[in-house]
Amino acid sequence: MVKVNGEPLDLAGMRLSDYLSSASYSLSFIAVEKNGTIVPRSQYDSCILADGDSVEIVSFVGGG
């Protein structure tokens, strides 16, 4: 299982980019952290989710 924003999901073996697009994230607005480290957008394709990974996705907003 892979934890995404605290929720366990059956995503082991999946590309991070495939998960993000299946979950309809707008890539230019999000920051992704996996196991405590930033995953830059350039690595979404090569990042394969593994059992036990913990992923946090934060959507940024402009406005002030």
Binding site: S26, S28, I30, G36, P40, R41, V61, G62, G63, G64
Partner: protein, 274 residues
């Protein structure tokens, strides 16, 4: 300078906090902070910074007060309609405390003026409305090695983080490029929600100035006032490929990257997923 009798009464509730005390209050009174943008985030941030006795507060904004601002930007009054926001916000600060030095900068920051502007301050607050300007502030602060507080807020939600040179990632480490996205004008915003984020920015400013607690450096605070989903997500370490603070930075001069700071803001993103 030691506190006067008046100041000891004025800041009595700070003096009993072991993290502040007389020494800390003296530090706050001698500190210089620049707030860029005088809207919703800044209303809350400036009110708290001025009340707390931050001795010099710079306010930069080239915009004018409009009727639609008053629903959340409580620094501004009906009487201030159509006047410059920095000047209007400065009047709010002076009404609270005449001892605070207010430096007014009634201008929009751009790639030409921002480095000079921030150079005289200890800490900067990004309280602007557009991502493009948030990235301009980020890049200027990275290049000038200036600590700053980032925040953004629309609808009922927002985020905040604190950049400290060589201590954690910058905004560009996390998002790479300025997204073309939601502003308060396009999707709406509740004053009480944006005020939470502005208050967080004031809190981070005081913590940085006094070197107390644990900053939102290498961490992002996320807040959704509708669901009360609130979290602090660790983003430890910089992105080594970051275009401004990475190992081989592409952005070394703001003028060369000016196009990104002036990107059109018309294709507004209507919804962002949590």
């Amino acid at each position: 300078m030691p506190l006067s009798t008046f100041q000891k009464l004025r800041y009595a509730r700070h003096l009993v906090l072991k993290e502040i005390g007389e020494k800390g209050q003296e530090v706050l009174l001698s500190s210089k902070v620049l707030v860029i943008g005088a809207g919703g985030l800044a209303s809350s941030a400036i009110a708290h910074l001025a009340s707390a006795g931050v001795g010099t507060i710079g306010i930069a904004d080239g915009d004018i007060v409009e009727l639609s601002n008053l629903q959340r930007q409580f620094l501004h009054t009906f009487a201030a309609l159509h006047t410059n926001k920095a000047i209007s916000a400065g009047e709010f600060v002076r009404a609270r405390d005449r001892d605070i030095n207010v430096h007014l900068h009634p201008l929009f920051v751009d790639e030409h003026n921002i480095c000079d502007l921030i150079s005289g301050y200890d800490f900067v607050l990004d309280c602007v409305d557009r991502f493009e300007t948030k990235f301009l502030i980020n890049d200027a602060c990275v290049l000038m090695k200036k600590p700053y507080s980032h925040a953004g807020a629309v609808r009922f939600q927002g985020q905040a983080m604190t950049y400290v040179p060589d201590k954690g990632p910058c905004l560009r480490c996390l998002l790479q490029t300025a997204p073309n996205g939601a502003t308060c004008q396009s999707v709406g915003v509740l004053g009480a929600a944006v005020g939470v984020l502005g208050s967080v920015q004031a809190l981070e400013t005081v913590k940085f100035l006094l070197n107390i607690g644990r900053l939102l450096t290498g961490r992002v605070f996320y807040f959704d006032g509708l669901s009360f989903e609130t979290k602090v997500v660790p983003f430890s370490g910089r992105d080594p490929d970051c275009a401004v603070c990475g190992e081989h930075p592409r952005i070394k001069d703001l003028s060369e990257n000016a196009k990104e700071y002036h990107a059109a803001c018309e294709n507004v993103q209507g919804d962002t997923k949590q």
